[in-house]
């Protein structure tokens, strides 16, 4: 009983983690940017969906759509406000761009977070779920929404796989993550690839944020922990490796769920953090990372 409970809950949580971390790692792989406003974009999309579905009463489907659009808009805003000016700046030395982008995206994330807190308060918000009711599998009563979350996450990840491996645009994105100079020499504009990547990222982060809002609820306080968990999953899996992030998401998700059920919810994040420290010491490039 408990076993099935952990299996099902862990699967849904992990799928959500995986979706959140995929976009994050894609951006890093292609443009070397660690986007610390990640959590804020997820929460922003969820709050937009919540406000549209709940407050304006447009229904869960239109609400979710508005949320995804909000995620997309926020991702582009992040790129144009906090990332691109620094990448193109002549006043900042190349070696220091990394820390400047980290600081700028961090500040941008705080700005989004505070704007949400100001206009929509700090209260936790639960997005109107698209699928309602509960269902019993293996004697475990689970909200149907939980299955829905896992399914959507994997559909989105599958679509991403198709995009990257089966379309011309996706292939050039993949190529850019391997060798940006080579792609430029083939006559593909690197800046348009960046735009594509940020668009994909916005969609993924938006969907992940809305699903999170339906599943667990979000508030402006969840911004920091969301960024931190995406960051740790991505590093655990190996920066830039999408498959590594997927596996790491499941490791972290199950470790957290098992700890919460078997020991105590208070210790929820500790084993995952310990694992991360051990991996950092023994295999600094992450489980599947390239150096």
């Amino acid at each position: 009983m408990l076993f099935w409970q952990i299996l099902i809950d862990g699967f849904a949580i992990s799928a959500l983690y995986a979706l959140g971390a995929t976009g994050f790692t894609l951006i890093f792989g292609v443009s070397g940017v660690l986007n610390l406003s990640h959590g804020a974009i997820m929460v922003g999309a969820a709050v937009a969906a919540w406000a549209a579905a709940g407050e304006l009463g447009v229904g869960p489907y239109t609400g979710a759509l508005i949320g995804v659009v909000a995620g997309l808009v926020l991702a582009f805003a992040t790129y144009f406000i906090a990332v691109r000016p620094i990448q193109r700046s002549k006043a900042i030395a190349e070696s220091e761009k990394e820390i400047f982008i980290l600081t700028a995206t961090l500040l941008w994330g705080i700005i989004i977070q505070e704007a949400i807190a100001y206009f929509f308060t700090n209260n936790a918000k639960t997005v109107l779920p698209i699928v309602e009711g509960v269902t019993t599998v293996f004697g475990v009563r689970t909200p149907r929404n939980e299955y829905f979350t896992a399914v959507i996450c994997w559909v989105a990840i599958g679509l991403l796989w198709l995009l990257v491996n089966r379309t011309r645009r996706g292939k050039s994105v993949m190529a850019a993550s391997m060798n940006p100079r080579g792609v430029t020499l083939l006559g593909i504009e690197l800046s348009s690839i960046y735009l594509t990547v940020w668009a994909i990222y916005g969609l993924l982060a938006g969907v992940a944020g809305i699903l999170l809002g339906m599943f667990l609820g979000v508030s402006s306080y969840s911004v920091g922990p969301l960024t931190a968990s995406a960051f740790s999953i991505v590093v655990l899996g190996g920066l830039g490796s999408v498959s590594g992030s997927l596996i790491a998401a499941y490791v972290v998700g199950y470790l957290e769920t098992a700890t919460a059920y078997l020991i105590s919810p208070a210790y929820r994040t500790i084993p995952a953090l310990l694992l991360l420290v051990v991996v950092m010491y023994l295999r600094p490039q992450g489980l599947f990372g390239r150096r």
């Binding site: 807190a117 100001y118 931190a228 960051f231 740790s232 590093v235 991360l276 950092m280």
Partner: protein, 309 residues
């Protein structure tokens, strides 16, 4: 050095110190209390700048060192209060932070860039979890009340914080301008070349961690006995670390003094804008973002640019 003494920056500095010295006669205890916190935060930011600006280590966890110092001092005092002088507690706090700094330096010598950044972030999260879980010892989420304080007089506290900031600032600044600072800067920018020139990169980086940890821990411990309480939200939370990083980059990285200016500015602005409620943090963040995007050398860069023209 003479060129430095005659520069406009130096005289602005002297003027600022004089203003800070005569301030207690004119302003209220409330403002003094605010400045006391700002001065301790300035030391946090300066210590961080030594690690990042000079050794090139992206440390996301300045609050790990601060928290270890603050909580060690606080726990010792809470358990052995009358028998143990608070100054011994503070010394123990600084010492514990140095040990923490060495522990933090170990991965830094192996991994670099974002990987090291994450290791330091994890260190903070672990410390935070430990404090919450070991609530019996640390006071948990509510915070740890310490029975002693340095002084209840706002002016005395202000003088101590000011003197502490000036002394640590002078030491850190002197260190950054010395040969050691140059070697650190070289190893931060090109580790291999610095090693090839015959400098012991590992030793210097370790030293930078120890010095940074010492001042962070000392400042943390002193602040505990100013506030009379140690809590996760004031000493350990990732948000506190973020503020320190923003302060250092905002004031002007690789300057040490800029970090102090940034810290005092952030705390001052936060207070000035308090009437605006939740908008305060928003506005401060917007200002910080604008400065970082348009004046990457921070406030000190703006002043220097003005001096050149």
């Amino acid at each position: 050095m003479p060129a430095f003494v005659s520069s406009r920056l130096f005289w602005i500095g002297v003027l600022t110190v004089i203003v800070a010295l005569v301030l207690p006669t004119y302003v209220s205890g409330y403002v003094l209390g605010l400045l006391t916190v700002a001065y301790y935060t300035a030391v946090f930011a300066m210590s961080w700048d030594l690690l990042f600006g000079f050794a090139g280590e992206v440390n996301f966890g300045p609050t790990f060192l601060i928290g270890v110092g603050a909580y060690t001092a606080g726990i010792l005092d809470a358990n052995f209060s009358p028998g143990l002088s608070i100054w011994l507690c503070i010394a123990a706090g600084a010492l514990a932070a140095v040990v923490g700094g060495v522990v933090l330096a170990l991965p830094a010598l192996r991994v670099s860039g974002p990987y090291f950044g994450l290791t330091t972030l994890v260190a903070v999260l672990m410390l935070q979890n430990f404090i919450v879980v070991a609530a019996g010892l640390t006071g948990g989420e509510i915070g740890l009340a310490v029975p002693d304080v340095i002084s209840i007089d706002a002016k005395t506290n202000y003088w101590i914080a000011l003197a502490f900031m000036l002394v640590s600032g002078a030491i850190l600044f002197g260190l950054s301008r010395s040969a050691i600072g140059l070697i650190l800067q070289a190893s931060g920018q090109d580790k291999i070349q610095a090693g090839a020139l015959g400098f012991n990169v590992t030793k210097h980086k370790l030293a930078a961690f120890v010095v940074s940890a010492f001042f962070s821990g000392l400042a943390g411990a002193l602040m505990v006995f100013y506030m009379g309480t140690a809590s996760v939200s004031t000493f350990v939370d990732v948000g506190v670390g973020v503020q320190i990083i923003i302060a250092a980059v905002l004031g002007g990285r690789r300057t040490v003094i800029g970090a102090a200016i940034g810290a005092i500015f952030l705390i001052g602005m936060g207070e000035l804008l308090r009437p605006l409620g939740e908008l305060a943090t928003l506005i401060v963040s917007v200002i910080a973002l604008v400065v970082i995007l348009f004046f990457p050398d921070g406030f000190l860069g703006i002043i220097r640019g003005g001096a050149k023209a």
